[in-house]
């Protein structure tokens, strides 16, 4: 059984350490915030200029001066701080954000990621994604293993224009948790979704993939 979006979010949330500063991209990564294990505190960075993003506001709390990187209205938590865009990306580019989770169209065995542009389709822009993949210490890509036509999104070489080169080491898909061994240009299968066999994952992966000796089924 492939993982649901919520299960994917849970799997990533479990890896976040207490006291982490985390930037979550739009889509599935946003859901991660809902599953942080009890007893761990996480400070969410919003790259438009906030550290310590809180829940959405109640109707009464809505304030146009408080939005997140997705332009949604938000609140702030106790101990938050606000800063300008240059300071925000100094934080990101300078490697101060502990972890980033973001979506992708494709990744490849060299740690490349494509997530912002499909030639021939409308180009909306990369926003902060190129800075995030270049700057974060610890990045996890969250994506479906294959596209709607069943084509692998874990490639030998990205076909779409890149968001970043050699940035990605960890990928969570709906089928597996995979590491990228850039030195040897291959994927290492670490965990499978419950009921999904390593063979199935390998067969749905375009790039070279080895199965870790201690490969195991994911706890969900």
């Amino acid at each position: 059984m492939s993982l649901t979006r919520e299960q994917m979010a849970m799997r990533v949330a479990r890896t976040i350490e207490d006291g982490s500063y985390v930037n979550l991209g739009i889509g599935i990564p946003t859901l991660v915030a809902n599953y942080i294990p009890e007893g761990r505190e996480v400070m969410l960075q919003s790259e438009n200029g906030l550290l310590g993003m809180g829940p959405f506001p109640t109707e009464d709390e809505v304030d146009a001066d408080y939005i997140n990187a997705g332009k949604q209205t938000i609140t702030t938590v106790n101990g938050s701080s606000i800063f300008s865009s240059a300071e925000s990306f100094a934080m990101i580019r300078g490697g101060h954000v502990d972890m980033t989770a973001l979506g992708a169209f494709e990744v490849d065995v060299n740690g490349n990621i494509a997530s912002w542009m499909v030639p021939g389709k409308l180009i909306k822009g990369m926003g902060g994604s190129m800075d995030l993949v270049a700057g974060a210490k610890n990045i996890v890509c969250m994506m479906t293993h294959t596209d709607k036509e069943g084509n692998s999104k874990l490639l030998k070489q990205c076909k779409l224009p890149l968001t970043g080169a050699g940035c990605i080491r960890r990928v969570l898909t709906d089928l597996a948790f995979v590491e990228i061994d850039i030195e040897n240009s291959r994927y290492i299968l670490r965990e499978t979704a419950p009921g999904v066999s390593p063979d199935e994952v390998v067969s749905k992966t375009e790039g070279e993939m080895i199965v870790a000796d201690d490969v195991r089924e994911m706890d969900v």
Binding site: N48, T73, R93, I123, S129, D131, G135, G164, A165
Partner: protein
């Protein structure tokens, strides 16, 4: 008042000197912290062939989006330009030139422009289409690209409060690009919700020192919300 009084009395005066072909740097992220009334004034002036540098280009009918209606923008430098049909149409038809720039690189280019740093190296966008044609150099075993600073003829920014000398504070995430934009224009025009007397704002917590601000005006703001998202009370 003294020679440091930056207050002007009308939006006409605020944007005086803006001419066809100039480069305008505009603060704001999405529709938050945008200089709404200064943008309206640019529309009123009808100046053409502008290069506009801003993280986004507003939405249809609000913010920088309104400058598209009469095709006042020749070139847009931004990191994200979704949510705007007119923009899309003009970009697709080739009427509007678009230079996409990663958000952090854009912020840094503007800071560099204001700080007298003509160019800097960054790892961001190396190996991507944005890095193509740019000088690559390795630092600490990692390839970086050389990016150039951005400066402009006019900076238009929106702050929360400022004193007459232009010492300004922003509120919440409406700060965003405004502090960097304020430093990078030859003429910086700031609009605020409230103008106070010098001495009323604590010098220790000024976000933009008055030295960067040339003209100051108090306005009223719609502050439109792009994605109102609420939870149950």
């Amino acid at each position: 008042m003294s020679g440091f009084d930056k207050v002007v009395n009308s939006y006409e005066e605020a944007m005086e000197g803006l001419a066809d072909g100039m480069t305008v740097l505009a603060g704001g992220f999405g529709l938050s912290g945008i200089p709404e009334n200064l943008i309206n004034q640019i529309k009123k002036l009808g100046v053409k062939d502008l290069t506009v540098v801003s993280n986004n280009c507003g939405v249809d009918g609000f913010g920088l989006g309104i400058l598209l209606e009469d095709k006042q923008i020749k070139k847009m430098v931004a990191s994200y330009v979704g949510e705007n049909k007119l923009f899309e149409r003009q970009m697709m038809s080739g009427e509007l030139e678009v230079e996409l720039t990663p958000q952090g690189t854009l912020a840094e280019k503007l800071r560099a422009g204001g700080a007298g740093i003509p160019a800097f190296f960054t790892a961001t966008a190396y190996g991507t289409p944005i890095g193509e044609g740019k000088e690559v150099r390795e630092f600490h075993g990692r390839p970086h690209i050389l990016e150039q600073a951005i400066t402009g003829d006019f900076s238009i920014v929106k702050a929360w409060k400022a004193d007459r000398y232009g010492n300004a504070i922003y509120r919440g995430t409406a700060r965003n690009f405004n502090p960097e934009i304020a430093t990078a224009g030859r003429i910086c025009v700031m609009e605020v919700e409230e103008i106070v007397e010098p001495g009323e704002l604590d010098p220790n917590y000024i976000h933009t020192p008055g030295i960067f601000v040339d003209r100051l005006i108090q306005g009223t703001f719609e502050k439109r919300i792009e994605r109102r998202t609420v939870r149950e009370a």
